[in-house]
């Protein structure tokens, strides 16, 4: 080994040795610093994890109540999909597709005791819908439709005036004003956009937390009867085993020669991306503030440390230590503090995640859990370490460059 290499090795080893000794000298201070960095880590992770969790919940809710994994819609020039039964047969032959449910949507107005509200009426086959979405399970009161129902209707909660005194009128402004004061078991009159009016018995009220709350539901058979339509649909919802393979199945469906515009749930989730991106900007700002706090804290810790050790830095340099040894010593301390803080932060974040998995946050869009993604952990890990090195560098560099005589005399 050359003298130069030996000297570098000596500098690095001594810096690590002194850093470790100093860290464990005052365990209480070390614990406090580590705890502080751990909380900063949690602070950086927490809001972003909730943002991910919220995105996931919104996507799941959307898949489970609106879009399913795939939806086949009429092409640009068409109003309806044709040959729905044949399409369903083709879909059922593709392995990986678990079910499909055709919808036929119509515009209509619903009247009850002189009050009218305009809405979309969705015609569906309840037994098929159960396999594709969770809408049939989202009943707030009454029951969902059955295949044999003809004069029954299920209303979204937004269409109905709220009877619960401790809840507001759903917060939907104009909808709330026109909402019908109807209850399960009463009759409403639906006037479709073709002019046909029919009286329906309200069988249930849906509370899905999303789009279905604005709709009314009848059976496909009933809509076909009103419009005298056969084997047509405005969309066919398709359920897959795995939501992440939606793109692959989109291509597979298109290869089967099925006519229609096949959209994945990701295509429909653009609005969610926009919402979470907006949330991301807010959490990003909070993250930067959190990061600045970490950086400032580490800089202060290193600065105080170098001030306390002023005389010993002088001695160390006098007995032959290079500036780089002093610099490395303080940077190593900053990094070790950060590493311990990050490890504790990961443990705390896991505890928080476990807590919320048992006690999720209940929101109008569903239950939200923080979702800790590995890439987020790695990014936060890297960011805190970089912040530690950058913020610790200036005070450490100042310490390394101190004049030996002045340091020894504590000037």
């Amino acid at each position: 080994m050359t003298d130069e290499l030996k000297s570098i090795k000596g500098s690095v080893k001594t810096a690590f040795f002194l850093a470790l000794k100093d860290i464990f000298k005052d365990k209480k201070v070390t614990c406090l610093v580590v705890l502080m960095i751990a909380f900063s880590f949690v602070n950086l992770m927490f809001f972003t994890s909730f943002n991910y969790g919220m995105t996931n919940t919104m996507q799941d809710e959307m898949i489970n109540t609106i879009s399913s994994h795939l939806s086949i819609e009429p092409e640009a020039d068409d109003t309806y999909l044709q040959n729905v039964k044949s399409t369903e047969k083709k879909l059922n032959l593709i392995s990986g597709i678990t079910a499909s449910s055709p919808h036929i949507d119509k515009h209509a107005s619903i009247t009850y005791k002189g009050k009218t509200i305009n809405t979309k009426v969705v015609g569906l086959t309840p037994s098929k819908e159960e396999e594709v979405t969770l809408v049939p399970q989202k009943i707030k009161s009454g029951e969902f439709l059955s295949n044999r129902d003809a004069k029954e209707i299920v209303l979204g909660k937004v269409l109905v005036k709220n009877k619960m005194p401790d809840e507001d009128d759903w917060g939907f402004g104009e909808f709330a004003k026109n909402a019908l004061d109807v209850e399960v078991g009463e009759n409403v009159v639906v006037t479709y956009d073709n002019g046909v009016s029919r009286e329906y018995h309200v069988k249930g009220i849906i509370d899905a937390g999303m789009g279905p709350d604005f709709n009314a539901y009848v059976t496909t058979k009933e809509i076909e009867d009103v419009y005298n339509q056969k084997d047509e649909a405005t969309q066919i919802l398709v359920r897959l085993y795995d939501r992440d393979s939606a793109d692959e199945y989109r291509l597979l469906i298109m290869q089967q020669g099925i006519r229609g515009d096949v959209k994945t749930w990701m295509d429909k989730a653009e609005f969610i991306e926009k919402i979470t991106a907006s949330m991301g900007i807010i959490t990003g700002v909070m993250t930067y503030i959190g990061l600045l706090t970490v950086a400032a804290t580490i800089a202060i810790i290193v600065y105080i440390n170098t001030t306390h050790k002023r005389r010993l830095i002088g001695v160390l340099k006098a007995i032959g230590s290079k500036d780089i040894t002093v610099l490395l010593m303080f940077l190593t301390e900053a990094c070790i503090f950060s590493l311990f803080g990050i490890v504790l932060g990961i443990v705390l974040m896991n505890l928080i995640t476990v807590y919320f998995s048992y006690n999720p946050m209940t929101t109008p869009i569903g239950e939200i859990y923080p979702e800790v993604r590995l890439n987020l952990v790695l990014i936060t890990f890297r960011t805190i370490l970089i912040a530690a090195v950058i913020s610790g560098f200036y005070p450490a560099w100042n310490a390394a460059k101190q004049n030996i005589i002045r340091s020894i005399w504590g000037e």
Binding site: S7, A318, G320, S321
Partner: protein, 245 residues
């Protein structure tokens, strides 16, 4: 011709205190031969510590030259100065300059660790030196568990780790009682005698200075010629002309 292990020529050091220039050294010429034990003495403000710092390469002179082992240090780069401090010099300060978070053994090992030597060799050498300074049984003690005299002996052991040619001691007994002070100086003499290491020690205690081979007196940043001659004439203490010795 022996030019001396340490030789200074017209060494000057000027400090700025606010806007006022203060001359700490005003052209000092000294020679210290290899293996000598020399005491630098003088009243407060005479420049003795400044002189030691210049020779120990802890500071740079305003003008003049310092030769160590016939090498002019004025032209040396910082890396080379650091290397000299690490491998050829040993330092002892008046305050107890130990790292409180390190054990006695670890404090002594430090200079050799900085040189990049393997841990085992560092440990063996440190134990050997702690035995020499009679603290072999205190190697795992923390500095706070040692008396002032013991801490200073640890500092002496540390200064010897890299087998230096020169030990620079800045008032090493200033914070010790008289018994401990004599013990430290006797230890210096023993090391000087047994290892041949050159010793340059600043002290303001004449009794301790007398124990050195010779004394160089400073006053107002210059060699105190009058005192040298008085001393020579009276032979009260052994003082040799610092330049021609």
């Amino acid at each position: 011709m022996d030019d001396g292990f340490i030789r200074t020529e017209s060494l000057k050091k000027t400090y700025l205190m606010g806007k006022v220039e203060v001359s700490a050294l005003r052209g000092v010429d000294i020679t210290v031969h290899g293996g000598e034990f020399v005491a630098l003495m003088g009243p407060s403000g005479s420049g003795k510590s400044t002189m030691l710092n210049q020779v120990g390469l802890l500071d740079t002179p305003s003008s003049g030259s310092i030769y160590i082992d016939n090498e002019n240090t004025s032209a040396m780069k910082e890396n080379k100065r650091v290397e000299l401090r690490l491998n050829k010099f040993g330092f002892i300060f008046q305050f107890f300059s130990l790292f409180m978070e390190l054990s006695t053994l670890e404090n002594v090992m430090l200079p050799m660790m900085l040189s990049g030597e393997p841990k085992k060799e560092c440990k063996d050498r440190a134990i050997e030196l702690l035995d020499i300074v009679e603290l072999g049984d205190r190697q795992n003690h923390m500095p706070s568990e040692l008396s002032g005299g013991q801490q200073q002996r640890v500092a002496i052991a540390r200064s010897l780790m890299n087998r230096p040619k020169l030990i620079l001691a800045d008032e090493p007994t200033a914070n010790l009682d008289s018994n401990a002070s004599v013990e430290i100086i006797e230890l210096f003499k023993k090391l000087n005698r047994e290892t041949g290491v050159t010793l340059l020690m600043v002290t303001h205690e004449e009794e301790l200075g007398k124990l050195a081979d010779r004394i160089i007196w400073l006053r107002d940043g210059k060699i105190d010629v009058e005192k040298q001659f008085v001393s020579l004439e009276t032979e009260e203490i052994r003082v040799i002309n610092p330049i021609s010795a």
